[in-house]
Symmetry: C2
Subunit: 208 residues, 2 copies
Amino acid sequence: MPQPTTTSPSAGSRTSDPDASTVERLLQAAAHAFADKGFHATTTRDIASGAGLSPAGVYVHFGSKEELLFALSRSGHESALRLMRSAIADGPTPAEQLVTVMARFTEWHVEQYQVARVVQYEHHHLTPEHHAEVLGLRKEMDSLMRDVLDRGVADGTFSVDDSADTALALLSIVVDVARWYSPTIRRTPGEIGSTNAALALRLVGAGH
Amino acid sequence: MPQPTTTSPSAGSRTSDPDASTVERLLQAAAHAFADKGFHATTTRDIASGAGLSPAGVYVHFGSKEELLFALSRSGHESALRLMRSAIADGPTPAEQLVTVMARFTEWHVEQYQVARVVQYEHHHLTPEHHAEVLGLRKEMDSLMRDVLDRGVADGTFSVDDSADTALALLSIVVDVARWYSPTIRRTPGEIGSTNAALALRLVGAGH
DNA sequence: TCGGTAACTAAGCGCTTGCTTAGTTTCCCT
DNA sequence: AGGGAAACTAAGCAAGCGCTTAGTTACCGA
Protein backbone atom coordinates (compact mmCIF):
# COMPACT_ATOMS: atom_id res chain seq x y z
CA MET A 1 0.00 0.00 0.00
CA PRO A 2 2.47 2.65 -1.15
CA GLN A 3 -0.19 5.28 -1.86
CA PRO A 4 -3.21 4.88 0.42
CA THR A 5 -6.33 6.34 -1.13
CA THR A 6 -7.91 7.87 1.95
CA THR A 7 -5.90 8.73 5.06
CA SER A 8 -2.40 7.74 6.11
CA PRO A 9 -1.79 5.74 9.30
CA SER A 10 -0.54 8.72 11.30
CA ALA A 11 -2.14 11.90 10.10
CA GLY A 12 -0.12 13.79 12.72
CA SER A 13 3.04 15.74 12.03
CA ARG A 14 4.60 14.78 8.74
CA THR A 15 7.93 16.53 8.27
CA SER A 16 8.90 15.21 4.85
CA ASP A 17 7.79 15.56 1.25
CA PRO A 18 4.87 13.09 0.83
CA ASP A 19 5.72 12.54 -2.85
CA ALA A 20 9.21 11.25 -2.15
CA SER A 21 10.03 7.56 -1.83
CA THR A 22 9.68 5.97 1.60
CA VAL A 23 13.44 5.76 2.17
CA GLU A 24 13.79 9.40 1.12
CA ARG A 25 10.97 10.44 3.45
CA LEU A 26 12.56 8.55 6.33
CA LEU A 27 15.90 10.27 5.73
CA GLN A 28 14.22 13.67 5.54
CA ALA A 29 12.22 13.07 8.72
CA ALA A 30 15.31 11.81 10.53
CA ALA A 31 17.39 14.80 9.39
CA HIS A 32 14.66 17.14 10.57
CA ALA A 33 14.37 15.49 13.98
CA PHE A 34 18.09 14.89 14.60
CA ALA A 35 18.87 18.51 13.69
CA ASP A 36 16.09 19.82 15.89
CA LYS A 37 16.50 17.73 19.04
CA GLY A 38 19.64 15.65 18.61
CA PHE A 39 20.04 11.93 18.01
CA HIS A 40 19.22 10.67 21.50
CA ALA A 41 16.25 12.95 22.08
CA THR A 42 14.70 11.72 18.84
CA THR A 43 12.53 8.61 19.06
CA THR A 44 12.00 6.14 16.27
CA ARG A 45 8.32 7.03 16.61
CA ASP A 46 9.17 10.68 15.80
CA ILE A 47 10.91 9.56 12.64
CA ALA A 48 8.16 7.12 11.67
CA SER A 49 5.35 9.63 12.06
CA GLY A 50 7.45 12.29 10.32
CA ALA A 51 7.66 9.97 7.34
CA GLY A 52 3.99 9.02 7.55
CA LEU A 53 4.61 5.48 8.75
CA SER A 54 3.74 3.38 11.78
CA PRO A 55 6.58 2.85 14.29
CA ALA A 56 7.41 -0.53 12.79
CA GLY A 57 7.61 0.87 9.28
CA VAL A 58 11.07 2.27 9.89
CA TYR A 59 12.55 -1.21 10.28
CA VAL A 60 11.48 -2.34 6.82
CA HIS A 61 14.14 0.02 5.42
CA PHE A 62 16.69 0.53 8.19
CA GLY A 63 17.96 -1.98 10.74
CA SER A 64 18.25 0.52 13.58
CA LYS A 65 18.05 4.18 14.49
CA GLU A 66 21.84 4.37 14.35
CA GLU A 67 21.80 2.98 10.80
CA LEU A 68 19.60 5.90 9.81
CA LEU A 69 22.05 8.32 11.39
CA PHE A 70 24.92 6.64 9.58
CA ALA A 71 23.19 6.78 6.19
CA LEU A 72 22.47 10.47 6.73
CA SER A 73 25.92 11.25 8.08
CA ARG A 74 27.83 9.40 5.38
CA SER A 75 25.86 10.81 2.46
CA GLY A 76 26.05 14.28 4.02
CA HIS A 77 29.82 14.07 4.41
CA GLU A 78 30.16 12.75 0.88
CA SER A 79 28.13 15.54 -0.68
CA ALA A 80 30.03 18.13 1.36
CA LEU A 81 33.32 16.68 0.12
CA ARG A 82 32.07 16.59 -3.47
CA LEU A 83 31.07 20.23 -3.16
CA MET A 84 34.48 21.25 -1.79
CA ARG A 85 36.32 19.37 -4.50
CA SER A 86 34.29 20.88 -7.33
CA ALA A 87 34.66 24.39 -5.86
CA ILE A 88 38.42 23.96 -5.77
CA ALA A 89 38.48 22.51 -9.28
CA ASP A 90 36.55 25.53 -10.59
CA GLY A 91 39.02 28.15 -9.31
CA PRO A 92 42.07 28.88 -11.48
CA THR A 93 44.06 30.47 -8.61
CA PRO A 94 44.33 29.64 -4.89
CA ALA A 95 42.60 32.94 -4.05
CA GLU A 96 39.65 32.10 -6.27
CA GLN A 97 39.60 28.54 -4.97
CA LEU A 98 39.44 29.86 -1.41
CA VAL A 99 36.65 32.30 -2.21
CA THR A 100 34.63 29.67 -4.07
CA VAL A 101 35.05 26.94 -1.47
CA MET A 102 34.15 29.28 1.40
CA ALA A 103 31.13 30.71 -0.40
CA ARG A 104 29.71 27.40 -1.66
CA PHE A 105 30.43 25.43 1.50
CA THR A 106 28.78 28.19 3.56
CA GLU A 107 25.76 28.23 1.26
CA TRP A 108 25.46 24.47 1.66
CA HIS A 109 25.44 24.87 5.45
CA VAL A 110 22.61 27.39 5.14
CA GLU A 111 20.49 25.65 2.52
CA GLN A 112 21.00 22.18 3.97
CA TYR A 113 21.28 23.32 7.55
CA GLN A 114 19.46 20.30 8.96
CA VAL A 115 21.77 17.84 7.23
CA ALA A 116 24.74 20.08 8.05
CA ARG A 117 23.86 20.03 11.73
CA VAL A 118 23.69 16.24 11.71
CA VAL A 119 27.01 16.09 9.84
CA GLN A 120 28.80 18.49 12.19
CA TYR A 121 27.31 17.71 15.57
CA GLU A 122 25.83 14.20 15.65
CA HIS A 123 28.59 12.02 14.24
CA HIS A 124 29.96 11.05 17.65
CA HIS A 125 26.78 9.09 18.34
CA LEU A 126 27.70 6.61 15.61
CA THR A 127 29.05 3.15 16.44
CA PRO A 128 32.87 3.07 16.62
CA GLU A 129 33.10 1.46 13.17
CA HIS A 130 30.79 3.96 11.49
CA HIS A 131 32.41 6.81 13.37
CA ALA A 132 35.84 5.80 12.09
CA GLU A 133 34.59 5.76 8.51
CA VAL A 134 33.13 9.24 8.82
CA LEU A 135 36.25 10.59 10.54
CA GLY A 136 38.22 9.68 7.44
CA LEU A 137 35.94 11.88 5.33
CA ARG A 138 36.29 14.73 7.85
CA LYS A 139 40.08 14.58 7.71
CA GLU A 140 39.85 14.76 3.93
CA MET A 141 37.88 18.04 4.24
CA ASP A 142 40.56 19.42 6.50
CA SER A 143 43.38 18.60 4.14
CA LEU A 144 41.50 19.97 1.12
CA MET A 145 41.29 23.32 2.89
CA ARG A 146 44.90 23.19 4.02
CA ASP A 147 46.08 22.38 0.51
CA VAL A 148 44.41 25.51 -0.86
CA LEU A 149 46.23 27.59 1.74
CA ASP A 150 49.56 25.90 1.06
CA ARG A 151 49.26 26.57 -2.67
CA GLY A 152 48.44 30.21 -1.99
CA VAL A 153 51.42 30.54 0.32
CA ALA A 154 53.68 28.83 -2.23
CA ASP A 155 52.76 31.25 -5.02
CA GLY A 156 52.94 34.29 -2.75
CA THR A 157 49.28 35.37 -2.73
CA PHE A 158 48.60 34.28 0.88
CA SER A 159 50.61 34.96 3.99
CA VAL A 160 49.64 32.78 6.96
CA ASP A 161 51.58 31.85 10.09
CA ASP A 162 50.41 28.24 10.17
CA SER A 163 48.27 26.70 7.45
CA ALA A 164 46.79 24.03 9.75
CA ASP A 165 45.62 26.60 12.32
CA THR A 166 44.26 28.88 9.62
CA ALA A 167 42.45 26.05 7.83
CA LEU A 168 40.85 25.11 11.14
CA ALA A 169 39.71 28.69 11.73
CA LEU A 170 38.24 28.91 8.23
CA LEU A 171 36.36 25.66 8.73
CA SER A 172 35.22 26.89 12.16
CA ILE A 173 33.60 29.91 10.52
CA VAL A 174 31.77 27.70 8.04
CA VAL A 175 30.85 24.85 10.39
CA ASP A 176 29.55 27.25 13.01
CA VAL A 177 26.91 28.39 10.54
CA ALA A 178 25.10 25.13 11.23
CA ARG A 179 25.03 26.07 14.92
CA TRP A 180 23.70 29.62 14.70
CA TYR A 181 21.67 29.60 11.49
CA SER A 182 17.89 29.51 11.70
CA PRO A 183 15.46 29.79 8.79
CA THR A 184 13.87 32.79 10.52
CA ILE A 185 17.01 34.78 9.70
CA ARG A 186 16.41 37.06 6.73
CA ARG A 187 19.89 36.94 5.14
CA THR A 188 20.13 34.81 2.01
CA PRO A 189 22.55 31.91 1.58
CA GLY A 190 24.40 33.93 -1.04
CA GLU A 191 24.88 36.89 1.28
CA ILE A 192 26.19 34.74 4.12
CA GLY A 193 28.41 32.88 1.68
CA SER A 194 30.06 36.00 0.25
CA THR A 195 30.49 37.46 3.74
CA ASN A 196 32.41 34.36 4.78
CA ALA A 197 34.42 34.39 1.55
CA ALA A 198 35.47 37.99 2.22
CA LEU A 199 36.41 37.16 5.83
CA ALA A 200 38.51 34.27 4.50
CA LEU A 201 40.52 36.56 2.22
CA ARG A 202 41.31 38.78 5.21
CA LEU A 203 42.35 35.80 7.31
CA VAL A 204 44.92 34.70 4.75
CA GLY A 205 46.27 38.21 4.26
CA ALA A 206 45.12 38.43 0.65
CA GLY A 207 43.15 41.66 1.02
CA HIS A 208 45.94 44.10 1.93
CA MET B 1 27.29 9.93 56.14
CA PRO B 2 29.31 12.48 54.18
CA GLN B 3 32.59 10.56 54.44
CA PRO B 4 32.01 6.81 54.59
CA THR B 5 34.87 5.01 56.31
CA THR B 6 35.04 1.92 54.13
CA THR B 7 33.59 1.79 50.62
CA SER B 8 31.24 4.16 48.82
CA PRO B 9 27.84 2.96 47.58
CA SER B 10 28.89 2.74 43.95
CA ALA B 11 32.57 1.96 43.70
CA GLY B 12 32.23 2.14 39.91
CA SER B 13 33.30 5.07 37.74
CA ARG B 14 33.65 8.25 39.73
CA THR B 15 34.32 11.20 37.43
CA SER B 16 34.62 13.98 40.00
CA ASP B 17 36.99 15.09 42.76
CA PRO B 18 36.05 13.00 45.84
CA ASP B 19 37.13 15.80 48.21
CA ALA B 20 34.69 18.34 46.79
CA SER B 21 31.26 18.97 48.28
CA THR B 22 28.40 16.81 47.08
CA VAL B 23 26.81 19.59 45.03
CA GLU B 24 30.20 20.34 43.47
CA ARG B 25 30.75 16.66 42.68
CA LEU B 26 27.33 16.41 41.08
CA LEU B 27 28.04 19.44 38.89
CA GLN B 28 31.42 18.04 37.89
CA ALA B 29 29.97 14.63 37.08
CA ALA B 30 27.13 16.20 35.11
CA ALA B 31 29.51 18.45 33.15
CA HIS B 32 31.68 15.46 32.35
CA ALA B 33 28.75 13.34 31.16
CA PHE B 34 26.84 16.06 29.29
CA ALA B 35 30.02 17.12 27.47
CA ASP B 36 30.86 13.53 26.59
CA LYS B 37 27.50 12.16 25.49
CA GLY B 38 25.05 15.04 25.45
CA PHE B 39 22.18 15.83 27.78
CA HIS B 40 19.68 13.24 26.58
CA ALA B 41 22.17 10.39 26.32
CA THR B 42 23.21 10.99 29.92
CA THR B 43 21.20 9.18 32.58
CA THR B 44 20.68 10.42 36.11
CA ARG B 45 22.34 7.16 37.15
CA ASP B 46 25.49 8.18 35.22
CA ILE B 47 25.60 11.45 37.12
CA ALA B 48 24.88 9.82 40.48
CA SER B 49 27.59 7.19 40.13
CA GLY B 50 30.00 9.80 38.76
CA ALA B 51 29.48 11.75 41.96
CA GLY B 52 29.69 8.63 44.13
CA LEU B 53 26.01 8.59 45.05
CA SER B 54 23.07 6.24 44.65
CA PRO B 55 20.57 7.18 41.91
CA ALA B 56 18.27 8.83 44.45
CA GLY B 57 21.07 10.94 45.89
CA VAL B 58 20.89 13.38 43.02
CA TYR B 59 17.40 14.50 44.04
CA VAL B 60 18.48 15.62 47.49
CA HIS B 61 20.31 18.52 45.81
CA PHE B 62 18.61 19.05 42.44
CA GLY B 63 14.94 18.72 41.57
CA SER B 64 15.51 17.28 38.11
CA LYS B 65 18.13 16.47 35.50
CA GLU B 66 17.21 19.66 33.66
CA GLU B 67 17.81 21.69 36.83
CA LEU B 68 21.35 20.34 36.90
CA LEU B 69 21.83 21.38 33.28
CA PHE B 70 20.48 24.81 34.06
CA ALA B 71 22.75 25.32 37.07
CA LEU B 72 25.72 24.29 34.95
CA SER B 73 24.68 26.34 31.94
CA ARG B 74 23.90 29.51 33.88
CA SER B 75 27.06 29.50 35.96
CA GLY B 76 29.08 28.64 32.84
CA HIS B 77 27.60 31.54 30.89
CA GLU B 78 28.12 33.87 33.83
CA SER B 79 31.78 32.98 34.26
CA ALA B 80 32.34 33.31 30.50
CA LEU B 81 30.76 36.76 30.57
CA ARG B 82 32.81 37.78 33.61
CA LEU B 83 35.95 36.67 31.80
CA MET B 84 35.10 38.67 28.68
CA ARG B 85 34.32 41.78 30.66
CA SER B 86 37.54 41.66 32.65
CA ALA B 87 39.59 41.01 29.51
CA ILE B 88 38.07 44.08 27.87
CA ALA B 89 38.58 46.16 31.01
CA ASP B 90 42.26 45.21 31.09
CA GLY B 91 43.04 46.43 27.56
CA PRO B 92 43.77 50.15 27.10
CA THR B 93 43.11 50.11 23.33
CA PRO B 94 40.53 48.25 21.20
CA ALA B 95 43.34 46.24 19.59
CA GLU B 96 44.62 45.08 22.96
CA GLN B 97 41.08 44.41 24.16
CA LEU B 98 40.49 42.22 21.11
CA VAL B 99 43.72 40.31 21.61
CA THR B 100 43.07 39.78 25.31
CA VAL B 101 39.44 38.77 24.94
CA MET B 102 40.24 36.31 22.13
CA ALA B 103 43.19 34.80 23.99
CA ARG B 104 41.51 34.46 27.38
CA PHE B 105 38.15 33.32 26.05
CA THR B 106 39.89 30.71 23.91
CA GLU B 107 41.95 29.51 26.87
CA TRP B 108 38.76 29.17 28.88
CA HIS B 109 37.25 26.98 26.15
CA VAL B 110 40.32 24.75 26.29
CA GLU B 111 40.80 24.54 30.04
CA GLN B 112 37.10 24.27 30.82
CA TYR B 113 36.22 22.43 27.65
CA GLN B 114 33.61 20.23 29.30
CA VAL B 115 31.73 23.19 30.75
CA ALA B 116 32.28 25.09 27.49
CA ARG B 117 30.71 22.28 25.50
CA VAL B 118 27.66 22.29 27.75
CA VAL B 119 27.45 26.08 27.48
CA GLN B 120 27.74 26.15 23.69
CA TYR B 121 25.91 23.03 22.61
CA GLU B 122 23.44 21.87 25.26
CA HIS B 123 21.50 25.02 26.11
CA HIS B 124 18.64 24.24 23.74
CA HIS B 125 17.66 21.32 25.94
CA LEU B 126 16.67 23.70 28.72
CA THR B 127 13.01 24.46 29.50
CA PRO B 128 11.72 27.50 27.59
CA GLU B 129 12.00 29.70 30.70
CA HIS B 130 15.56 28.67 31.49
CA HIS B 131 16.51 28.85 27.84
CA ALA B 132 15.27 32.42 27.62
CA GLU B 133 17.36 33.44 30.62
CA VAL B 134 20.49 31.93 29.12
CA LEU B 135 19.83 33.47 25.71
CA GLY B 136 20.00 36.90 27.33
CA LEU B 137 23.51 36.14 28.57
CA ARG B 138 24.52 34.91 25.12
CA LYS B 139 23.33 38.11 23.44
CA GLU B 140 25.37 40.06 25.96
CA MET B 141 28.49 38.15 24.85
CA ASP B 142 27.74 39.02 21.27
CA SER B 143 27.37 42.73 21.92
CA LEU B 144 30.52 42.84 24.07
CA MET B 145 32.46 41.54 21.09
CA ARG B 146 30.74 43.88 18.65
CA ASP B 147 31.42 46.88 20.89
CA VAL B 148 35.15 46.16 20.83
CA LEU B 149 35.05 46.12 17.03
CA ASP B 150 33.00 49.32 16.84
CA ARG B 151 35.45 51.15 19.09
CA GLY B 152 38.35 49.96 16.96
CA VAL B 153 36.60 51.10 13.79
CA ALA B 154 35.77 54.45 15.38
CA ASP B 155 39.38 55.21 16.30
CA GLY B 156 40.72 53.95 12.97
CA THR B 157 42.70 50.90 14.11
CA PHE B 158 40.26 48.33 12.66
CA SER B 159 38.70 48.18 9.23
CA VAL B 160 35.77 45.78 8.96
CA ASP B 161 32.91 45.63 6.46
CA ASP B 162 30.26 44.74 9.02
CA SER B 163 30.94 44.57 12.74
CA ALA B 164 28.08 42.14 13.46
CA ASP B 165 29.29 39.64 10.84
CA THR B 166 32.88 39.98 12.00
CA ALA B 167 31.96 39.60 15.67
CA LEU B 168 30.06 36.43 14.78
CA ALA B 169 33.07 35.04 12.90
CA LEU B 170 35.38 35.82 15.83
CA LEU B 171 33.03 34.08 18.24
CA SER B 172 32.74 31.16 15.81
CA ILE B 173 36.50 30.66 15.96
CA VAL B 174 36.43 30.63 19.77
CA VAL B 175 33.22 28.63 20.27
CA ASP B 176 34.31 26.01 17.78
CA VAL B 177 37.25 25.19 20.06
CA ALA B 178 34.75 23.42 22.32
CA ARG B 179 33.78 21.23 19.37
CA TRP B 180 37.21 20.15 18.14
CA TYR B 181 39.34 20.29 21.26
CA SER B 182 40.29 17.08 22.99
CA PRO B 183 42.67 16.71 25.95
CA THR B 184 44.76 14.32 23.85
CA ILE B 185 45.86 17.30 21.73
CA ARG B 186 49.35 18.41 22.70
CA ARG B 187 48.97 22.17 22.15
CA THR B 188 48.68 24.23 25.35
CA PRO B 189 45.77 26.57 26.10
CA GLY B 190 48.16 29.52 25.81
CA GLU B 191 49.31 28.48 22.35
CA ILE B 192 45.78 28.01 21.04
CA GLY B 193 44.77 31.31 22.66
CA SER B 194 47.52 33.36 21.06
CA THR B 195 46.91 31.69 17.68
CA ASN B 196 43.28 32.79 17.83
CA ALA B 197 44.26 36.26 19.00
CA ALA B 198 46.58 36.62 16.00
CA LEU B 199 43.87 35.38 13.62
CA ALA B 200 41.51 37.97 15.12
CA LEU B 201 43.89 40.83 14.37
CA ARG B 202 44.04 39.70 10.74
CA LEU B 203 40.25 39.47 10.52
CA VAL B 204 39.81 43.09 11.62
CA GLY B 205 42.51 44.35 9.28
CA ALA B 206 44.76 45.49 12.13
CA GLY B 207 47.84 43.69 10.83
CA HIS B 208 47.94 45.92 7.69
C1' DT C 1 20.41 13.30 76.49
C1' DC C 2 17.61 13.62 73.04
C1' DG C 3 14.49 15.47 69.44
C1' DG C 4 14.82 17.55 64.90
C1' DT C 5 16.86 17.98 60.59
C1' DA C 6 19.50 17.11 56.64
C1' DA C 7 21.94 13.63 53.69
C1' DC C 8 21.62 9.58 52.05
C1' DT C 9 20.08 4.55 50.21
C1' DA C 10 17.16 0.41 48.78
C1' DA C 11 13.49 -0.57 46.34
C1' DG C 12 10.56 0.22 42.97
C1' DC C 13 6.67 2.71 40.14
C1' DG C 14 4.85 4.16 35.89
C1' DC C 15 6.20 5.30 31.53
C1' DT C 16 8.83 5.45 27.26
C1' DT C 17 12.22 3.49 24.58
C1' DG C 18 14.20 0.66 20.49
C1' DC C 19 12.87 -3.02 18.30
C1' DT C 20 10.20 -7.62 17.19
C1' DT C 21 6.48 -10.62 15.92
C1' DA C 22 2.62 -12.06 13.51
C1' DG C 23 -0.38 -11.01 10.25
C1' DT C 24 -2.50 -8.22 6.23
C1' DT C 25 -2.48 -5.98 1.86
C1' DT C 26 -0.66 -5.00 -2.65
C1' DC C 27 1.59 -5.95 -6.66
C1' DC C 28 4.05 -8.50 -10.05
C1' DC C 29 5.70 -12.49 -12.50
C1' DT C 30 4.43 -16.72 -14.67
C1' DA D 1 -5.48 -17.44 -11.98
C1' DG D 2 -2.51 -17.88 -8.40
C1' DG D 3 1.90 -18.06 -5.77
C1' DG D 4 5.53 -15.36 -3.70
C1' DA D 5 7.95 -11.48 -2.40
C1' DA D 6 7.88 -6.84 -0.62
C1' DA D 7 5.81 -3.02 2.13
C1' DC D 8 3.35 -2.14 5.63
C1' DT D 9 0.56 -2.18 10.44
C1' DA D 10 -1.31 -3.61 15.14
C1' DA D 11 0.15 -5.17 19.15
C1' DG D 12 3.37 -5.69 22.39
C1' DC D 13 7.89 -7.16 24.85
C1' DA D 14 11.98 -6.45 27.62
C1' DA D 15 14.90 -3.01 29.13
C1' DG D 16 15.97 1.32 30.69
C1' DC D 17 14.35 5.84 31.89
C1' DG D 18 13.38 9.96 35.37
C1' DC D 19 11.89 10.30 39.57
C1' DT D 20 9.44 8.94 44.22
C1' DT D 21 8.72 6.68 48.55
C1' DA D 22 9.91 4.90 52.84
C1' DG D 23 13.22 4.25 55.84
C1' DT D 24 18.11 4.66 57.94
C1' DT D 25 22.05 7.05 59.59
C1' DA D 26 24.76 10.94 61.20
C1' DC D 27 25.05 15.15 63.28
C1' DC D 28 23.88 19.35 65.90
C1' DG D 29 21.71 22.65 68.94
C1' DA D 30 19.06 23.06 73.40
